[in-house]
């Protein structure tokens, strides 16, 4: 089972100055930045996926600048993602259309032909057919029953596009693997979609529209699909949001799945921001400590605009919170004092009001408890990946992209190692049995797998 990382320009400035909070002198975005596989020193995934919706263009405004989107097509995905070095050359690059970016449209803004051209120009190794998301999933429907008119319309669009996509990519055979996307409103309709894709000649299917589904619902779909397609048919799960439950998907013989979840949760999740392997071959989660940028955080900016907070005071509090945390990391400050300083500053940004106005608020108390656990356990000391070793406590500070994304990249490493350890991957996990620094007992406790492949 291959973990494919869905990228959206997730690179960081390797020379970022964490004390002054500045980009490195003269840094050019993208060019001087490092992708996860560059900053970690190894690829914390088994391939990358780039969505057409992220690249953007005429139909959908993406995340790339116009000049970047043009270059992506000119030089190709591998050079753009800097996977063109010998050590990364074997990694596949998947493409998909990013159906969520156009789910409100009547039909997809892309044609099978222009999508084939996009994959061909950028030289993807794998690419998904042009699908259209179906909502209103009902697990209890049997076979092809149910399904609104709209669901059935989208079902047919997805399959028609898949058929045309196969012809449009035929000339690329040998260097490109087309993937047929499954959309449906029930396990039975997904299975029927899969059956028709196999009949078209697809031997690699991609299950789409799983983001709103519960893990159990995805499993019933997979079960229905597996029942109907040959055992040799490969299956990919697109945009797999339930990435943390991957260990329970072993029986479905999944070839690959893509997710951004370990990266995104570093800065989008309320609690689970920092991953650490736990002893039972699972994950432990820690809450990152919010020290927002006094003059840039939107919530604080709003409070300042209303006149509820004085920016000069905020800047002072921010400074104190940062130095308290760094002193704590060096063993020069005690836990409670550090927490007090941090909470006093965190509160306005997290709750929207100054701490003295709500001394007993439950939200603040919970936050304090979670921060306390993070500070007491010092999880960053237990990880020996390139990021944690270099950053120390900065990695658990919830503060702007360079810290948040680095924490996310660390999570990718932990997650990738976890996937490697799954029983279904046991045949290829020899190289992941690597320990941290053996002289450190703390790290030894986690030696079953650490987030760096080489120390």
């Amino acid at each position: 089972m291959k973990f494919i990382f869905a990228d959206s320009l997730d690179h960081v400035d390797p020379g970022y100055d964490f004390l002054r909070d500045r980009y490195s002198e003269g840094r050019t975005p993208y060019w001087d930045d490092a992708y996860p596989h560059e900053i970690m020193g190894y690829a914390p995934y088994k391939g990358m996926l780039v969505s057409r919706g992220i690249v953007g263009g005429v139909a959908v405004g993406g995340k790339y600048t116009e000049a970047q989107a043009m270059r992506f097509r000119r030089v190709g995905a591998r050079e753009f993602l800097r996977l063109d070095k010998p050590e990364f050359e074997h990694l596949p690059i998947f493409g998909d259309c990013g159906a969520f970016t156009y789910h409100k449209e009547d039909k997809p803004p892309y044609t099978p032909e222009d999508t084939a051209e996009f994959y061909d120009d950028a030289r993807f190794t794998h690419g998904c057919s042009v699908d259209h998301i179906i909502f209103d999933f009902d697990e209890d429907l049997k076979g092809m029953e149910g399904g609104t008119q709209e669901a059935r319309r989208r079902f047919e669009i997805t399959l028609e596009n898949a058929s045309a996509f196969r012809s449009a990519t035929a000339h690329m055979s040998g260097r490109f693997t087309p993937m047929g996307v499954i959309q449906g409103w029930s396990p039975g309709s997904m299975a029927e979609g899969a059956r028709r894709l196999v009949a078209m000649g697809y031997d690699y299917l991609a299950l789409g529209g799983t983001v709103p589904l519960k893990a159990s619902q995805i499993k019933s779909c997979l079960a229905a699909i597996r029942d109907i397609v040959p055992a040799s048919t490969r299956i990919h799960i697109l945009g797999f949001a339930k990435a943390d439950e991957i260990d329970t998907f072993g029986s479905f013989n999944i070839t690959s799945f893509d997710t951004t979840s370990p990266l995104i949760r570093a800065f989008k999740d309320a609690k689970a921001n920092y991953y650490l392997p736990s002893k039972g071959g699972k994950l432990d989660y820690y809450t990152a400590i919010r020290v927002p940028q006094a003059l840039e955080n939107p919530k604080l900016m709003r409070l300042a605009k209303r006149g509820a907070l004085h920016q000069e005071t905020l800047v002072e509090m921010e400074k104190k919170a940062l130095s308290a945390l760094r002193a704590y990391d060096r063993g020069e400050a005690v836990l409670d004092e550090t927490l007090d300083t941090v909470i006093a500053y965190s509160t306005p940004a997290v709750t929207g009001s100054p701490v003295e106005e709500l001394p007993d608020a439950k939200a603040v108390k919970d936050l304090r408890e979670r921060y306390k656990r993070t500070l007491i356990d010092r999880p960053w000391k237990k990880c020996s990946c390139a990021i944690c070793s270099a950053l120390s406590i900065e990695v658990v500070l919830f503060r702007a992209s360079n810290r948040n994304k680095r924490r996310g990249i660390h999570n990718l490493g932990v997650y990738n190692a976890l996937v490697d350890q799954l029983p279904s991957n046991s045949d290829n996990n020899d190289h992941t049995q690597i320990s941290g620094n053996p002289s450190e007992t703390e790290r030894n406790a986690h030696r079953s797998f650490v987030c760096s492949e080489s120390v």
């Binding site: 263009g57 270059r71 003059l295 006149g307």
Partner: protein, 365 residues
Amino acid sequence: MTILKFPAIRAKQSETHTVLSFAAKASDLKNFAVIERVARDEGGALSGFQRPQIAGHIREIRDYLEKPEAILPNPIVVAFTTGITISEEAADGRCMVEIDAMGGAPGLVVDGQQRLTALSQVEEKDFQVFVSAIVCRDEEELRRQFVLINNTRPLPKSLIYELLPTVRGLPRRLGDRSVAADLAARLNYDDGSSLKGKIYQHTNPTGIIRDTAIQRVVINSMSDGVMRELIREPDGADLSFALVSDFYRAVQTVFLNEWEGHTPKTSRLVHGAGIMSLGYVMEVLALLDGARTVHDFSRGLACLVGNTAWTSGEWNFGENDRRHWKSVQNVNRDIVTLAQYLIGIVRADVKRRRADDVEPKQASM
């Protein structure tokens, strides 16, 4: 120290106001002047007037102030309604100013809050700045001064861009623009340029092609295209100049009738959309076809003849997107649509020519 004294100079400007100038250290300023941001109390009454700090702007100023050669000739304007006394006034305006900061800072910063904030973050030096003090009757008068002082008109962008290449030590945001503006100016004034005299600039108002369009082509190429490599060569600036000049010379040759004597209103070829989308065609030809000269580019562009609607007819961007030649606008969406359309044709042609070639070219598709 709660009473601060400064030697000052007073200007005779108005019977109702006192206006003074003196030099003070940033750390002193912090003691006698505050930045009062606009806010409303629970009853909705307005107080203060300043907008919040802008982090990026402050960072830029701070970067500059940290340099040893930094100067800040513009004064910080501080208004007082109380707490300020003038003494020992001489006929020539020289006087002493006393500011009473016993009960807190009496002055309000009317202009220069971002500069002042940046100053307070520069720890290495205690910079002296000029302070212009206005003594106002009341809060209302003070707010009026704020509105008047901050309601200035920014300089026209095309003038700023034209000045940029002559200025050094600019923030990076302007630095990229500066390189592009420099090349655009050279394209406009160099005798060997195919665009000589044709680019609109502040100093060349009769130019036809927008300076910002040609600058965008250069900026895109410098950031993500062929000029990124070219500019690193020892004669990088010349190579870049020659590339753009040769490319647009080829454009003029291939589309002579749509170029000659036209304005953006009568031909989309000399319009921002045409210039910028063709910039991407230049990139494709340079990378995939190895094109560098007028001859190379003309050969690569020839396939477009008969497929364009620069001055009449309609563009055929696909089944559901056929549009009148004029409806291509100078907006990103249209530029990308047009560029993709042109590139599609050019790419197919490059492939075809390569297949026809007895000896295949080296550049890989």
